[in-house]
């Protein structure tokens, strides 16, 4: 006896027996793994799924047809084993190229030109640190870093192909050769700056159709995006400090109340008969909610994700906050 599953492939419904299902799942998982490093991985997998669905629908002409293991095997034979499909070079070659790490720009996860990501890969540290350093340099050097950044942007090639990306990531770097890498990297850059054929760079600029106006536009976008990040960063910093302070003060409230210090000592609670915990709660809501908003807003600026909080959460928090404000004004008055 065999169990039958119902699956959706590319929005089409198929019945498939359990063995065939297991086989198909294994195949798709293997494919996913072999494309893990490839650009446009989701799209490729989607295309392959669509093709599998197409082939399945050729077998399943009759309604209620159950896809068998043989069908899946046929499909795999047509499409090819994951090792054959993947565009990666053979392991022999890729280990060789891995050993020699190269500096590329990582445009997959870029904010501006992918320079920070590329440097991060090259030195084996998280790109966040590079970005942080860049921002600090930007603030302290009054924009000189912008010029250096653009220079790096022009000089460092973009990692386009898979092998370039592999080479960009390279082998995991341990502390002892980070130093070496930095030295090598500096040498590289100085050499490159020396060797650069400026007329050729200019030609490249024209070839890439980066006209002056586009450069200016890019520069402005760059500055805007940096400003966003800086503002976001400070919003997060500020609101975090306030929120931590709030938690501490509430904790201290709790502490004082537990050792029975008379109400009158704590300022603002003087005119009210409210129990302390209510007051602490009002404080948390009254101060915590707006600063949580600032925190989320800062996070939005920093990560450039549009929605970190859905509307209903926003409105609920807003209503709670207004009620809290009203309550506070009543109790103090």
């Amino acid at each position: 006896m065999n169990t039958t599953f119902t699956i959706h492939l590319a929005h089409t419904l198929f019945h498939i027996d359990s063995d065939a299902y297991a086989l198909l799942k294994k195949y798709l998982n293997k494919l996913e793994k072999s494309f893990a490093q490839t650009e446009g991985k989701h799209e490729i997998l989607e295309d392959i799924e669509v093709r599998i669905a197409e082939l399945f629908s050729q077998y399943a002409i009759r309604d209620g047809y159950v896809i068998s293991e043989k069908n899946v095997n046929d499909v795999i034979e047509i499409l090819g084993a994951p090792e054959d499909i993947s565009e990666e070079e053979t392991s022999e070659e890729s280990t060789k190229s891995n050993a020699q790490k190269k500096l590329y720009r990582d445009t997959d996860e870029r904010i501006v030109g992918g320079v920070a990501g590329g440097l991060g890969h090259y030195f084996g540290i998280d790109r966040v640190w590079i970005r942080l350093i860049l921002i600090i340099l930007l603030l302290s050097s009054i924009g000189g870093i912008v010029f250096i950044y653009i220079l790096l942007w022009v000089l460092i090639p973009e990692a386009k192909t898979t092998s370039e990306k592999l080479r960009m990531r390279g082998e995991p770097v341990n502390i002892s050769n980070i130093e070496k890498k930095i030295k090598e990297g500096l040498n590289d850059v100085t050499q490159k700056v020396k060797n650069v054929d400026y007329s050729k760079v200019y030609d490249d600029f024209l070839k890439k159709n980066i006209k002056f106006s586009e450069m200016v536009e890019k520069l402005i976008l760059l500055l805007v995006s940096i400003a966003r990040k800086v503002i976001g960063f400070f919003m997060i910093l500020f609101s975090t400090i306030v929120l931590i302070g709030l938690l501490f003060s509430v904790a201290i409230f709790g502490f004082f109340s537990s050792i029975e210090i008379p109400h009158e000592i704590l300022f603002l609670t003087m005119n009210t008969n409210l129990p302390l915990w209510t007051f602490a709660l009002l404080l948390i809501f009254g101060v915590g909610i707006p600063f949580t908003f600032i925190f989320v807003l800062g996070l939005q600026l920093l990560t450039s994700k549009r929605k970190l909080m859905n509307n209903s959460t926003k409105y609920t928090l807003g209503v709670i906050w207004i009620i809290t404000l009203l309550l506070i004004s009543f109790t103090i008055a």
Binding site: T12, D47, Q58, A81, I85
Partner: protein, 109 residues
């Protein structure tokens, strides 16, 4: 050394050229491209084509649109872009040069 691997490498380089060429006259959906190439023995397994097409598309050489199909899921129809056409022209001349040199070389030895 693996002979299959070398063969695959040889084929791979020319494959991009062939894909662009098959699309230069008429838009095709992915399986039509595959079929054309299979007929001319350029392709062993279908699967290799999907990463290739995605790469060409991301490189701006191809673009696609969705079209409904009467039998099965909707199909991606690929067409060649202006950049792709220029790319193809260059590949074509490279190919002719390569062809000439290799033919001359194999005749000599």
């Amino acid at each position: 050394m693996n002979i299959e691997n070398t063969k695959a490498q040889m084929r791979k380089g020319v494959l991009e050229f062939c894909v662009l060429k098959t699309l230069s006259t008429k838009d095709k959906y992915s399986f039509e491209i595959i079929e054309t190439l299979k007929k001319s023995k350029m392709l062993v397994v279908e699967g290799t084509m999907y990463p290739l097409l995605t790469r060409l598309k991301n490189g701006g050489l191809l673009e696609y649109r969705w079209e409904e199909s009467t039998s099965g899921p909707p199909r991606k129809y690929y067409s060649i872009t202006e950049v792709g056409k220029k790319f193809l022209e260059e590949l074509h001349s490279t190919w002719s040069d390569l062809n000439k040199s290799v033919t001359a070389l194999t005749k000599k030895s």
